[in-house]
């Protein structure tokens, strides 16, 4: 498979978390606004690309039996970097994402890509795979955050767009709204791809 194809696969064909239903916790928890979704997505992309590269470089050195533990250590190191950088430079976002930044470690997308792709491929396709999946994840999170922000709060990236008379569906910003919104989007995506 060519590098370009590996990259674009993450953007539609296997876009997480809609097609590859993994990493649901951050998807549901942080998408109360488009901006938070974008921030979470970019943080995850960084960890995903770096961990894919390192895992791919070490794929011959890591013994099969302890590979999961080894992958987790690699991922956790990059998560700590992200955590410290965000705490230093993006403090308000760090406060909002809160517990979900350390929890990037257990985001199944990252471990899943390390196991399913990076541990079997060379460095360039692995980086492309990480970047594609990461950007796909960012796109999905921003989209979901956008939908919830527009209908739940009447704003998009903080700008009011729905006019004065709009009554926000504030339930969308709470937990039930997150589940139902994601469920409906998944169903609609199944519908669209079935029509093709």
């Amino acid at each position: 498979m060519s590098v370009a194809k590996v990259f674009t696969r993450g953007l539609w064909q296997e876009i997480p978390p809609f097609r590859l239903v993994l990493g649901l916790c951050p998807t549901l928890a942080v998408t109360t606004a488009a901006k938070n979704g974008l921030g979470m997505g970019l943080a995850t992309t960084f960890v995903l690309v770096c961990s894919n590269v390192i895992v791919s470089l070490l794929r011959k050195a890591i013994p099969g039996k302890v590979r999961i533990a080894a992958f987790i250590v690699v991922i956790a190191s990059f998560v700590v970097i992200v955590e410290l950088v965000m705490q230093a430079y993006f403090y308000p976002l760090y406060k909002i994402l809160g517990i979900f930044i350390p929890l990037i470690v257990v985001n199944c997308i990252i471990l899943g890509r390390a196991e399913a792709f990076a541990s079997k491929n060379t460095i360039v396709p692995s980086a492309a795979d990480g970047l594609g999946m990461g950007l796909g994840f960012t796109l999905s999170l921003t989209f979901l955050g956008g939908v919830r922000e527009i209908f739940g709060n009447g704003t998009f990236f903080g700008h009011a767009i729905m006019g004065e008379a709009f009554q926000p569906f504030s339930i969308l910003l709470k937990a039930p709204g997150a589940f139902i919104c994601l469920g409906v989007i998944l169903g609609v995506m199944n519908l669209i791809s079935a029509k093709k």
Binding site: C25, I72, V106, C108, F179, G183
Partner: protein, 192 residues
């Protein structure tokens, strides 16, 4: 005494770890198709969360804090959890084979269940003492099991209902979870 009761009610219902704090959703949707797998997973989660929280609590207060290594929290916790799950698996296999057969297949899955790491981190953030930590981790995991079993009960029934074909499976599971979460929203305000 009433403090402990409030802590338990709050962790099980008001701040349900799954439906309000959104932790541990992947296995939540993965194993909620059949009741026996769901109860197995629920028990395994209670067992691992209570053990993992106790050990990570000790690691935080007796190793990381005295040496000023708080920034290693994430790495240390996930390593402890991964090692613990592996040990528990080996121990159960050797000495309690009956329990191993019912919980065994769920244990490896639990390493990447964010509820385990999540509760461990929440315990540290909440600055709980040892007894509070035990109660909180137990009550949180019981809340997880409760939500999991509720969803499974509904999904087993929906499996035979006439649902538009594109909305079956995960999509419907998420919407069902949303409606259960709506029910749990009713508990908000009981405890702050």
């Amino acid at each position: 005494m009433s403090d402990y009761l409030l802590l338990i009610v709050s962790a099980v219902f008001v701040n349900n770890i799954l439906l309000v704090r959104y932790l541990g959703n992947c296995p939540f949707l993965g194993v909620s198709n059949r009741m026996d797998t769901a109860t197995g997973m629920a028990m395994a989660v209670v067992f691992v969360i209570v053990m993992a929280s106790s050990i990570t609590w000790a690691v935080q207060y007796y190793i990381l804090n005295p040496f000023g290594l708080e920034y290693l929290q994430t790495i240390a916790f996930i390593l402890v959890i991964a090692a613990l799950v592996q040990l528990v698996e080996m121990f159960l296999q050797k000495s309690v084979p009956a329990l191993y057969r019912s919980l065994g297949i769920f244990l490896p899955l639990i390493t990447t269940n964010c509820a385990v790491l999540g509760v461990a981190v929440l315990v540290i953030q909440g600055e709980y003492g040892f007894v509070d930590m035990l109660l909180f981790s137990f009550a949180s995991s019981v809340g997880y099991g409760l939500a999991l079993i509720l969803l499974t009960g509904i999904r087993e029934r929906l499996a035979v209902a006439a649902i538009p074909v594109h909305f079956r499976g995960t999509s419907l599971g998420l919407m069902t979870a949303g409606l259960i979460a709506l029910g749990f929203l009713g508990f908000v305000g009981m405890v702050h």
